[in-house]
Symmetry: C2
Subunit: 420 residues, 2 copies
């Protein structure tokens, strides 16, 4: 006999929502060490994180939070699961998801997308990939920032295109060099890829920079591929602006990509969205997606979770951001106090990307030393992951508790003080 439940509010058996543990109720988002469940993370957190590092090592690696998702997301999944139906969904995504994404962009990003031009996809990465499939031919060129996460270059090259690096400042406060950018455009250039906020440097592009990018794209008749997966993770006084929101011109030139892994900790549920300006571009990307044939698509619970995130978890997200802001300050100040490390403060992303050249070690050497001797895992700034300009840097994710971050930074500091 399995256990079943009675609701303490209404006294009915069976007919209520699944329970919520008290410590995860809405009023109590503290993001403390107690909220981090290491025994679960050690079984579930891959991509260089807890399930992949030796016992005793603290991973500050993949950009994935150490905290569980908001309780509203768990509840939404349980409610949907309760009826037991996981039928074929619509290839373009459920209407409730597309409407929620449209509402969010209208209210929070000041840009009006039609739900009919929004597609649920199997991660932001999939959205970037299928946009490149839809818009690039073999031999076409696309401009990508350097440094930047490898996904743009990977997707461009996978469809036979060429990624043209646009060097950007390592300091998030530094200015883009638009004269240099101008020299990169040629007859084969079809697209400019924007990652805003910028992983790994944490730069948040301001309105003037975005306007100049739109002017550049317009002059050369380029598509703008705007990866906004980090757009919620922005630290005051920096302000995020969706490039599509700037003007009619920017709207019609832009394919916007978003996802739910960074803000809400849902990487494993594999949900993202592609937002297109019109039916033509929507149908072009839909054709490339493999959704119509059922080869690919976004699973139903991923859409349920993402919808709950957008509709019900903005308060949770604010609390998460407040915590992240403290962690950013701690990471930056402690890293700058370590010998050989220089760490500008990011304006966005829960990542720092310090310059480690003064340690005399390569990123790969420092990574190995930290892993073996300090028991801290970090991501080396390898050119194949982040572009040529990333060399001499390491990437550290600070989306964890104060306790874990403090311990990891303490270990790093001791190690560097010992060897330098």
């Amino acid at each position: 006999m399995r256990p079943f439940f009675v609701c303490l509010s209404c006294r009915r058996i069976q007919a209520c929502m699944p329970y919520l543990p008290m410590h995860q109720m809405k009023t109590n988002f503290h993001f403390t060490g107690e909220d981090v469940n290491l025994s679960v993370l050690k079984h579930r957190a891959y991509n260089l994180r807890w399930a992949m590092v030796p016992e005793g090592v603290i991973p500050l690696t993949a950009a994935d939070p150490d905290f569980p998702c908001a309780p509203q997301i768990r509840e939404a999944i349980m409610r949907f699961t309760d009826s037991g139906y996981f039928c074929y969904g619509p290839p373009e995504g459920y209407a409730f998801f597309r409407e929620s994404v449209a509402r969010f962009f209208s209210e929070k990003r000041k840009v009006n997308y039609s739900p009919g031009c929004i597609m649920a996809v199997d991660s932001a990465a999939a959205g970037i990939f299928m946009t490149c499939q839809a818009y690039l031919q073999s031999g076409d060129e696309a401009i990508v920032f350097d440094p930047i996460d490898f996904l743009f270059r990977h997707s461009i090259e996978a469809v036979g295109g060429k990624a043209i690096p646009f060097p950007v400042p390592m300091d998030p406060k530094g200015d883009l060099d638009f004269e240099l950018l101008e020299k990169l455009a040629g007859p084969k250039t079809r697209m400019i890829c924007v990652c805003n906020p910028l992983n790994p440097t944490g730069k948040v592009l301001n309105k003037n920079e975005l306007k100049s990018l739109v002017e550049f794209a317009t002059k050369h008749n380029l598509l703008i591929l705007s990866d906004e997966i980090w757009s919620d993770i922005v630290f005051e006084p920096a302000v995020f602006t969706s490039i599509a929101s700037l003007s009619e011109e920017s709207f019609k030139r832009t394919i916007t990509i978003t996802g739910f892994s960074k803000s809400y900790g849902l990487a494993g549920l594999r949900a993202g969205a592609v937002l297109t300006p019109d039916e033509d571009s929507f149908s072009r990307i839909m054709t490339a997606s493999g959704h119509q044939s059922t080869v690919h698509g976004c699973n139903s619970l991923g859409q349920v979770a993402a919808t709950a995130a957008l509709d019900e978890c903005q308060e949770w997200l604010s609390a998460f951001l407040s915590h992240l802001s403290l962690m950013r300050n701690k990471a930056v100040s402690e890293l700058n106090a370590m010998p050989g490390i220089s760490c500008p403060a990011p304006d966005g992303c829960y990542l720092v990307f310090p310059d480690i050249r003064a340690t005399g070690l390569s990123p790969a050497q420092l990574q190995e030393n930290l892993l073996n001797q300090a028991k801290v895992a970090i991501v080396p700034g390898l050119p194949r992951w982040f572009g040529d300009k990333a060399d001499g840097h390491i990437r550290i994710c600070f989306a964890t508790s104060d306790e874990i971050l403090s311990e990891a930074l303490h270990r790093m500091k001791n190690h560097l003080n010992t060897i330098l």
Copy 2:
């Protein structure tokens, strides 16, 4: 204040598994009309089913059951969701999933795959697609049965290959013509695609046929791509055999694909598996998959659901199969009693594929008439969906309750009796 729950067995608040409604407890798998929740289906069942047909129409269309999934699957999803962690999973799939698939194949299919050579994928369709990406070059030929579901041809053509149709009998009891098959192999032939049981005719290949297919593949040095997504849905006395289980030769030549949508009603969770004979073929398909870059992958809850299905739902599956067997008998006998319809009994799949040529109507005409006048939706045997031999046939899915199936067949019979 949200409701929370106390367990009636242990009296503790909060610490138990989510509840199960009594009518869905394990002892009660009846697959009656009461188990079909039309109000949910009308919101969730796409791919030509309840959410896509006009009010009052009964859809016997996409091969997706009208019943909710087994309660053990719901529980497993809720247990996994309870901790709130949806981290990045491993690109090849969670170990628990890969081990469960390996165990199932060893016990039920008599073929020993190493868990390390099994990949979790975003649907059986995705598995077929990435195998074609991994093994076919532009200009390569692959043999596909005719009639057959469009996915093989679609995947072969998407990578620049050519699908060579191998006509097979429309009657599931009919024999394969191996002399004809021999004539189809040429210098560019790289692969033979096997869908067993065969959608749409319901043929279950017997051991002798499978052995002859292996001989043919060996003689011409072909890869065997074996889509076994229907392998649980086989009606006695027919017996399913995995082609990889026949011999060492068949094992090493075969990539086996499976999924969980047909047997367990999980299409919307998008989970499947690719089973490869060795590390080389595993790594070749992994490279093609886009999983390492996170562009694609199988979501964590899909893997959780599939694992519960294989480990805990075999009793549920037997009950489902018993019900399906009754529905098959009903569909076949009632269809054969309708004017102009000739319907052989399928040995596998919950589909019938009757010949409707004697009605004088094309499949598309009959589809339209049935939809508009009889309020029943069926799938026309269009060559683009099922191959050239499918013309003159319609496909009907009978994975529903006796009540719904009887009503739909009654409407069809009345309609045909009126017009013929």
